[in-house]
Structure formats: C-alpha cells, structure tokens
C-alpha cells in the first residue's frame, strides 16, 4: 500500500472509508485475493427502453456452510404442494435492529440508462472519452450568464432592477417602509447578458459488424447482444447524437436494422472483407470522417474463409479504416467451430497499432473484461 492510500484510510471517517474500501476491493484495486469471492450477478436485464436491472456486488467470505438448494425451507402464503413458490426472492424487509442472520446480498434495482452508464464507468474504471478535436466544426451555444447595464428592454431583469432601485432609495434615505413604493431610475436598470461557448461537435456513429456464418451459435449471438447493449449505454453517455448502423455478413455483407441484426442466423462461409468494404461505403456516404467519431465493433468467431481474404482485410484496415476511425474494436466470441485465426492475424500485423483493440470473449463472464478492454483507452 502506498503512503497516500494509507493516509486516506485514516482521514476518512466511518462509513465513507469502509464504503470506499469496499469499492476498491470490488474494482480490483486492492486485496486481489478477495476477487474470487465477489459475485457480480448478471450484467444485463433490459426492461422496456429505459430501465435495466443492476445487481449489487457483494463479497461473501467463505464459511462452513451447507451446499445450495439442499433440503427444504420455510415459507408462508398461498398455493398447493407442487406449485411454484410465488414471487421472486424477497429482500429481507427492513432490518429494524442489528440481527446476525445472513442477508441475501443481491437484489435488482431499476436505474435509468444514464445512471447505469455512470455506474458502469465507475465499476469498470473507464476513462471519459475525449471527443475528436475537430475545431473547424465547432458549434456555438449561447446561454444567459451575466448581468449588463445596457441592453434591450425585452431582456430587462426585473428583480435585479428593483433591487438596485431599493438599494439606491435606502441609501438616499427616501425609502419609506410604511409605503414601500419603488421607482427604478434609468441607472437602476439591469439586463440579462449572454455569453457564447464554443462546443466541439460530438457526433458519433457506432457500426456493429457481426459474423452470422454457420459457426456462430445462439450463445455467441447472445454474447454479442449483451456486449452491444453495454457499448450503446456507455457511448450514449458520452455523445449526444449517437447513431447506430448494423452490418451482418457471412460470405456477403448486408446492412440490416437492429432487430434483424440480433435475430439473424445464416449459414455458409465467411468473407470478412465484404463487411469491411460495406462499412467503408456507409462511412463515406453518410458520415464524413472529419465530422464524426466513428466506432466500428466487429464480432466474429475468427474463422475466415481464406488467407487471401484475411490479407485483404488487414490491408483495408491498415490503409482505409484506421486513418478514419476513433478505434476499431474486434471482439472474438469463442465458439466450438471457429478456429480463431483472424485474432492471431490481427495481433501479428497490428501489435503496434493503437487504434485497434482486439479481445477474446470466452463466455458470458468474459463480457465484463472485454468491455473494460474496449474502452480502457478513452479514445
């Protein structure tokens, strides 16, 4: 432990210190040996458009305990033997005093996407994204920020004006509390003034590219869906005008809507280059790279049809894609059938390329890590 951490522990009071320490443990900053006792529960559960359930992390120290779901437990309520016990797991009500029975530590709460993104940023330790510094496309926004002595009467600030008048009358000794009539003079008038703040353009487009060839199963698609949700959530918290496009490909690429993107299951071979070409078409047609932050995410099981095509992909990336995107993210969803060769190809060629983030997602548990990798750079 570093000296500054040390002092932190002793200066913070009570629960804030304990809470901070807990959060540090959960985020893996300290006490790594406790990492294995942290339960994160599930990351996703979207209800409607706005809400999603978020689990609360907890650390359960090991004890001598009975195995799960053994034996029976008590309950109270309606139903016949054989019926499912109604309701979800209940939170243990309001603890009215210090008890020592074990509580259930996981519960689901509804949070808005904005809060969720905040939590996500905190949990994963994601840096805020620095928007592309394109000063030539600044937009200006103006806000009323100050008070002026001159200005149009339509912007007269009544309260300030009368306050000035009151001050003057009191100072001059002509204010009569019995008959509080206040008449502003010209010198009392105050007006709202505005200031303009230049704001860098923050438009972003995410292009999801998914391999839907025969080797991508439902499990793999589910992982992609989950990833995409979290990517959306994070980028939406960072950019105002976020647009999304979806490309699926097997041997040929097609642009599809969101629904189709998640549902399609094709079979057949894989030509990754087809998707990259389509991606470039879309970008050049609709999103001039000077004005847009561009985030392509490509998910595949890494099984490309031929080496020639892989080579073509690498050339496309090198010459056309990297120069225009903020970051190119490649997520390799492991499947039984895929060889995963493309991942190796990428790393081999672009180990130095900082615009490329490639990671492998083994299973659902891997989602968390990969999201962290995707956004760790804050690009």
């Amino acid at each position: 432990m570093k000296p500054e951490d040390y002092s932190k522990v002793f200066t913070m009071s009570g629960i804030k210190r304990d809470h901070g320490r807990f959060k540090d443990i959960v985020s893996g900053k300290i006490r790594e040996n406790l990492k294995k006792f942290i339960s994160n529960g599930e990351l996703i559960g979207k209800k409607g458009d706005e809400f999603v359930s978020i689990p609360i992390p907890s650390i359960e120290l090991p004890r001598f305990a009975f195995g799960k779901n053994q034996g029976s437990k008590m309950g109270q309520g309606k139903g016949n033997p054989g019926d499912p016990v109604e309701g979800e797991e209940q939170e243990g009500g309001d603890p009215k005093e210090a008890g020592n029975e074990e509580g259930k530590h996981e519960l689901e709460v509804d949070v808005s996407l904005k809060e969720l993104a905040e939590m996500m940023g905190q949990e994963l330790g994601l840096p805020r994204i620095l928007p592309k510094g394109s000063h030539d496309i600044d937009s200006k926004s103006s806000r009323y920020k100050s008070i002026h002595h001159v200005g149009p009467h339509s912007l007269r600030h009544y309260k300030r004006t009368y306050r000035e008048a009151l001050k003057r009358q009191i100072a001059a000794g002509i204010y009569n509390p019995e008959n509080p009539v206040i008449i502003p003079h010209k010198s009392d008038l105050r007006f709202r003034g505005w200031a303009e703040t230049p704001r860098p353009q923050t438009n972003a487009v995410i292009v999801y590219i998914m391999d839907v060839s025969g080797s991508m199963g439902d499990e793999q698609k589910e992982i992609v869906r989950t990833e995409a949700f979290w990517i959306d959530t994070w980028l939406q918290s960072q950019y105002k005008g976020l647009q999304r496009r979806y490309i699926i490909h097997d041997a040929v690429a097609r642009e599809v809507d969101e629904n189709t993107f998640y549902r399609t299951r094709e079979s057949g071979g894989t030509l990754i280059s087809s998707a990259y070409k389509m991606f470039l078409d879309i970008i050049h047609k609709d999103y001039p790279p000077q004005q847009w932050n561009i985030y392509p995410f490509h998910f595949s099981d890494g099984d490309n049809w031929s080496n020639e095509d892989s080579q073509l992909c690498l050339d496309l990336l090198q010459n056309e894609i990297f120069p225009i995107v903020n970051q190119f993210s490649y997520g390799q969803v492991e499947s039984k059938y895929g060889s995963g060769q493309f991942f190796k190809d990428l790393l081999e060629k672009f180990s130095e390329q900082e615009r490329l983030v490639a990671c492998r997602v083994q299973n659902r548990e891997g989602i968390y890590e990969s999201i962290k990798q995707f956004f760790a750079t804050g690009r």
């Binding site: 009570g14 320490r21 609360i56 090991p62 004890r63 309950g75 109270q76 309520g77 210090a98 020592n100």
Partner: protein, 491 residues
Amino acid sequence: MKSRDLGPELNDWIKYIEDKARSYGLNFPEVCFEKVDYKEMNELASLGGFPQRYPHWRFGMEYDRISKSYTYGLSKIYEMVINTDPCYAYLLSSNSVVENKLVIAHVYGHADFFKNNQYFSKTNRKMLDEMANHSTLVRQCQEQFGVEVVEEFIDQCLSLENLIDLRSSGELPKTREEEEKLPEEVQKIKAKSYLDKFINTPEFLDQQRARIEEEAKKEEKIPFRPIRDVLGFLLLHAPLKNWQVKILEMIREEAYYFVPQGQTKIMNEGWASYWHSHMMTKDILDDSEIVDYACVHSGTVAPHPHGINPYRVGLELLRNIEDRWNKGRFGKEWLECEDTVKRKNWDLKLNKGREKLFEVRKIYSDLTFIDEFLSQDFCEESGLFASKYNQSTKRWEIETREFQKVRTQFLTELTNFGQPMIEVVDSNFDNKGSLLLKHVFDGRTLKRDFAELTLKNLFSLWKKSVYIETAGEDGKSQLWGFDGKDFLTRA
C-alpha cells in the same frame, strides 16, 4: 452522530407512549430517541446500529446495499434500536407523525424485551462503548502493523465467525480441571457402617476406579470433550501474536453479543409488533390516522413466500397464544379433545392470555417458542409451508403443508441458526499437532469449495494442518484437510 431536537410534539408523544407502555406492565430502561436523516440511518444500519465500529469493508458493502435499495425505493428503514442501557433508538427524520408514533411504540416493545428476556440477561449493556473501543483497537493495530495485514487477519477470523457455541454466553471453554476436579482416589458414598457393604459394593468401587482411569486418559487429549466454541478454542490454543489475540477476542465478543438477537428474532419482532398494534389502535391513533397506520403496519407484517417474516409469524403466534390462554385452550383435555364442534366453541373464560404472554417473553427463544406453541391449527390458519428446490424445473416449489413436516423444517432452520454444527475434536490429530474439527452430519452436506477456503483460513491461524470430518454426497464419512499447500480428501 448529531443529535437533533425532536420537537415538542414528538416529545409529548414519547412521554405519552412511555406512560402507556408502563401502564401495561412493560418494563424497560430509559430509551433515548435520536432523529437522523436517511443518510445517517443507512450508515447506522450498515454498522448494526452502532455509530462506531471497527474499520472494515463489510460495513461498506452493507452500506452499498442499503443505500442503493433506499435510493431506488426498495426498502426504507423507519427505525432502529440497540440493546444497551440506556436503550438508543433512531427515528428517520422524514417519518410522518403516524410512522413515528408506531415506531416509538414498537421501540418500547423491543426495549422491554431486551431487558426481560432471559437470553439477553448476560449481554453487555455498555456495548456502545465496547464497540468504540474495538474501533480504536483495530485502528491502533492498523497503524502499527499495516492496514492490509490487519484487515486480512480480520477476514480470516470472520470466515470462522459462525463457529461459536450458541448455548453459552461467551465464557471461554474450560479445561477438565476447571470444570470438575477429578478425585484422586475412589470416593465412597457416605453410609452408615452397617449399610456400607451394600452401598459401596466391590463392583461399584471397581466401576468408579475404572471411570477415574478412563477420565485420566481423556485428560491428555485437548479438548477433553468436543467443543463448539471453535473461536474460543483458537483463542486459548492457537499460536497467535498478541495483537491477533486481541482482534480474535474482539470478533468473538461481537459474535456472542449478537447471538441473542438472532435467537429471538421472531419473538422480539412479534412482541414489539404486538405492542405497537395494541397501543396504536387502543390508545394512540385518532380516526383520521387509521388508514395511514394500517398501510405501514401491513407493510411490515406481509408474509414472505421465500422464508419467514419474523414480524408476521411472531405477531400471529403471540396473538394465538393470548387467545388460547384466554379461552383455556391448553392442557391435556384440550389436546385430547377430538370433537371439532366442541373445540371450535371451547372457551373456559380464563383470561390468562396476557399473563401467559409476559411469561413467554421472559423465558423463551425462537426455537423453544416454535417448539412449544406452533400448533396444527395455527400452522394451517397462517398458511405456513415447506418448499423444496426442484432440480428439473429449476424453481422452488411448495413441498408440503403437513404439520409435522413443517414443524420439523421450522425447527431445523432455527437450530444453530440453520448452520452446520461444527466441533473441535482434537488438537493433536495424527500425533502431529493437527487440528481436527467434526461436522455433526444430519444429511446435509457441506459446500466443498467454501469448506476448503475456510480450512485455509483456519490453517493460517493454527499454522499446522487442519482437518474436518464430514460426509460426502453418499453420506459416508470423509476427512477434508489442508496442509498449507494442498487440499486433501481421505475416505
């Protein structure tokens, strides 16, 4: 903790309710009410009601959970009360007047229970100070030995925290000599000389001699008989540094302090709910407040399908007892009566209900309370059931409503807080100074991975191999162990 003025209205109500409570025969120490805002309430709740606890992340975890579930409107803590003298109780500053009245009445119920129930008779009523001392102790240790080192040791102790003897109130385990001095020679039973040869027969004397020899052999073994207070045993026998002894002592003391509360959850909440509902409806509420009251009250006593709501079961069972003793529905005649009509109209007009309740609150714990008073009629009326996890449908399903099975299940859950029964059997196992624990097997197996990690923690205190005798899936005895490097299994 900042203390805020409660305001004249609340002070008047406190006085009024206190007088009422005393007039019903409740007997409690002075109760100090403090008004706290939701942040302070969440903080206090995560610290178990005590404003000062030793620094540890698990309080932070509790806080995380409580404050998130408050923020998202899932649960709200109206009140909290701690078992000290004077009693401290916290009121949430955003409570309405009705809520506060309910809480105050409820708190006096708890205060009475803390003072009079026998399971609390040995608890430290100055625990507020003790907790603050513990906080100082841990801080000092952390300053001297490092935050991580101390925290890690606390974690290891906490992983063994449940290994205490719930039947005792925290005295250290005794050695054979302390417990009873073995006679050196065979003691004859005093008798008149002419009766001596009949009373102290040669067989009897031989028997006694054999017993003494046997006991003397046992004496060499530590512990001389199985001990459930594993923490206490470690405190006496584990090779610990001075500061570690102090920390372990602290963890053990706190664990024992909270035992009575765990042992009387149902009764304590039932008793407090009984009195708040009685006083609220009889003495405190005016007509306009009755709906608000009913809303809050029904919230606290709603049945839980996944487990027992102590507020509800406690309250229902106490009322059931009151009714039974008012009508004389107890004793041999009642139990043997099988005439349903007669049973239904059974009323001896004894009016002993209230008297019985005061007796119950004095001498029972949840376990004995349910054991004694859970009747078939009550079980059916209140809709209690036992549920079981169905492996094929992957959900919990109602298993049975049969009285005997439900009762057994209920008692099983209350026994040893529903945790495995574990004893220290031998501190020189294998003749290598290894520690041997024994899990008293009742058909439920231990969670293997957790048991292994717990053994690892135990090893770091004991510093030599540690074993636990338990049973595998097949119900046959197995020995699990950790020798500092590997986990071992022996059939």
